[in-house]
Symmetry: C2
Subunit: 501 residues, 2 copies
């Protein structure tokens, strides 16, 4: 006789098999799929996602969860068993609350919405996209009502990406961050110092960039026996199984940062996936906690490690040997200053470490106002320009480099943006704690030792899966609730000497 728990686990395993196959199809679509194969690929993926949805919401899953609820309630809520039942029930209940018609309407509106967005952005014409934005926000409001919420409908959407997070709390910490960042960025702008950023725009041959990026990813701990690196237009990290994590990047011959820091970023995501418990694959204890926690891993390796002076103490001699033409007359200090340059810009994905969060705050504030109805979709371009002027001191002259720049809203990803900033905040607070525990991290990095940090992340974050909420994890790991302080201090400590402020 199979026990109810074993049957539940086996159903979860089946769902995860289907989802892992979907991941491979998605990865292949971006990397190697022949140009004409897109239509059939959509059919394959629609079939698999329907199959996964059907299995996820099957009545048998509900029955098994109900039969195990009483036993789970007796256990430590952070045990594998209790977390498995709690999180699966949470997902099942949420999925089951969504009427099939709404799911279909959302799928349709976002497929059409993305196509309209591509055209509107190319034509730099917000009016083409506005009716779709209206439609999508309307459906997302319906989704929030269907799923339910306590304080604000935004919470119901945010929950898809950052489970258990509440928008009032996120708003508070982001407002505090904004209050600190705006004057910091102003001070940098007014400082007379500017690093020699043109050294990053010299000739960096693609093959050399790839070799260097690959070596750095392996050095910090990305396991190429259980993963790979490919080229895509939009970089990402996707796991196709417990030992199959695939990251991608893109190369610009005349800009060093794009591929290199992109690789560190995706490798950070990948090392989280590679650190999940493979014996719990497809179950909550073997699943990443939230997008914010995922982003904390990518941002930590990209910025807190990869843009540190000690990291380049170790890697700059190798960089010089790899790119002798570009870097022969450059010192490690000059290079370090250049990769940390701060300058307000219009495009989020190209933003530096300090201004990046201001881009996110603009979006977070706008989508809350759109969802509540305080802001009309027709007024988005104006509101966007105003906030950019207020927070970043610059404003876009076109909507293409303004409110049309991101795919998220057209794809129905409302409530997703704040997870990027949450990731930065978590990263800084975790990293502070790691420094406290692991001794002189900078001395380790300068010797090329990244294993202690990775193992600390494995023990404290990766192997804890979804057995805690993100707030619980932050409290457990760092001894205090999430705050803007670590991130602000980390930025100030780095940028003040560089800009003499």
């Amino acid at each position: 006789m199979t026990s109810p728990l074993d049957e539940l686990k086996s159903l979860a395993r089946e769902i995860s098999l289907v989802q892992s196959v979907e991941s491979l199809l998605g990865w292949d679509e971006q990397t190697y799929m022949p140009p004409a194969a897109g239509e059939f690929r959509a059919e394959q993926m629609t079939y698999l996602s329907g199959l996964a949805h059907q299995k996820r919401t099957s009545p048998r899953v509900g029955e098994l969860l109900a039969s195990l609820a009483a036993d789970a309630a007796k256990e430590d809520p952070h045990s594998d068993f209790a977390a498995t039942i709690h999180q699966m029930k949470r997902d099942f209940d949420k999925q089951s609350k969504l009427p099939q018609k709404l799911v279909e309407a959302l799928t349709h509106a976002t497929v059409i919405g993305q196509q309209a967005w591509v055209k509107a952005r190319a034509a730099n014409d917000f009016s083409q996209f506005q009716p779709h934005l209206e439609k999508i926000f309307g459906l997302k409001r319906e989704q929030a009502e269907a799923v339910g919420y306590v304080a604000h409908p935004y919470d119901a959407l945010l929950d898809d990406y950052e489970p258990d997070a509440k928008s009032t709390e996120v708003a508070l910490v982001l407002a505090e961050l904004r209050t600190e960042l705006v004057p910091l960025v102003q001070a940098i702008l007014q400082s007379g110092k500017k690093p020699q950023v043109d050294i990053l725009a010299r000739e960096f041959p693609t093959a050399a960039q790839e070799a260097f990026g690959r070596a750095a990813a392996a050095a910090i701990g990305f396991d190429f026996q259980r993963g790979r690196l490919d080229v895509t237009h939009h970089p990402f990290c996707s796991s196709v199984g417990p030992s199959d994590c695939r990251i991608t990047t893109r190369y610009q011959e005349k800009f060093f940062n794009c591929a290199f820091f992109g690789i560190l970023h995706e490798a950070g995501h990948g090392m989280y996936d590679q650190g999940l418990r493979s014996d719990q694959y497809g179950l909550p204890p073997g699943t990443y906690l939230s997008l914010g926690i995922h982003e904390s891993q990518s941002r930590m390796w990209e910025n807190l490690v990869g843009r540190s002076r000690s990291f380049w103490s170790h890697f700059f001699p190798q960089a010089k040997a790899t790119f002798p033409v570009a870097l022969s007359d450059v010192s490690a200090d000059q290079f370090y200053a250049a990769v940390n340059h701060v300058e307000p810009s219009l495009i989020r994905v190209e933003a530096d470490e300090a201004t990046y969060n201001l881009h996110i705050i603009v979006r977070f504030e706008l989508e809350q106002a759109l969802l509540s109805g305080d802001l009309k979709t027709a007024d988005v371009p104006g509101a966007w320009r105003e906030k950019y002027k207020q927070y970043l001191g610059i404003e876009p002259s076109t909507d293409a480099e303004g409110c049309l720049q991101d795919i998220h809203w057209s794809a129905g990803l409302i409530g997703y943006f704040p997870t990027y900033s949450l990731g930065n905040l978590y990263a800084a607070q975790f990293f502070d704690q790691a420094r406290r525990v692991l001794g002189d991290l900078d001395a380790q990095f300068a010797r090329g030792e990244f294993r202690p940090l990775l193992e600390w992340l494995r023990d404290n974050i990766h192997t804890r899966g979804r057995n805690y909420t993100a707030s619980q994890l932050v409290q457990l790991v760092t001894g205090k609730p999430l705050s803007h302080e670590s991130l602000v201090r980390s930025l100030r400590d780095k940028l003040a000497p560089l800009y003499g402020i």
Copy 2:
């Protein structure tokens, strides 16, 4: 209301979606999958093949087929409708006759059998493999009994790869082929002439080989918008959808033939898949007819086109420009003679166009004798050596280069080998007919025109799917039943002048 036919088609479409996803997983496993991901990949593939089998043999498919049988019987048997019902019923009945226990036992025995074969071949120790061979042939005998046959159990197995073929007929045509080939190969061996084959073993840089092979594949008609070319240890062609055909090859820096003729061969397979009717994808009218017919397409492009004098009239100047170091002192005639060199050898996959079929005949005769019980598995090594001596005039000194060289038997692919030779026979007979219909094919090839031949193949073979049996198709296209004559004449016409015989 969905009509029974529409419901059946939609079930077939679903099955083909699952199978296409399986194909992608198989392709990825050979090309890009990280080394450590194999175990989970096996789990993904097992799940999908189970799902496909379950859908293929679902009672609903049987009911729908039964309800449509009477209508189908009234139609032209080669119409899409009649062929759909007939072939789906044929597959359904066969699949349903196989007891689940036997399917599982075969899967298990062949997974274990392949592992044992790898070890036995590496250790050059047939005795390690012999119990597995015994087990597998025993289970295949059970399979033949379960499926049923009229004359010989071998027919039941052959039918999996070459539907409707009968082993007595295949044996007859292969015996006639053997009778002609053995003295032809003898005469070549005794001729004093030998082409300068060392020119093919000069330095052919991989990147140049890839560019040249890719250009040739595109020139003969492989559509890279709907396909791609990658590197694998064992080359293959796999279709992941109606517009997604993937071929692979491997490069040897010091041997021209391996990659180049491999690419033409796989491109020939690929062009068949690309020529199938995409509106009938997953249904018999949009499916390849048999492995023999598939092989006829690969062999035609590889040998009858790709090893012709006229092909090299067009391509040799390009080859010379691509490989200036290797080919500067070589003439087109020398090159043509070298790529057509005939010499008995021990390894099937390295065999030339004339001796290749003798390798197949050895295997076909041995597996018939094994199945009937006339040959004991323990006696395979001796029987193998004897037949090689008799047909090819040479014999292996080790079993690794003898009866352990092929994966097929360990994988349970009994009855598969003859499809290779059937492919050569079909190819030559089709090609003779194409010459008759299309005028001076050689003049066309010399001008780099391959489109007329491809279009003729599209019209006469590819778009006919499974609406005919292979014998019917041969009769329909060439006006006569399959015979050894075209192939023997083609070989003699080419080889007699080259070897002065």
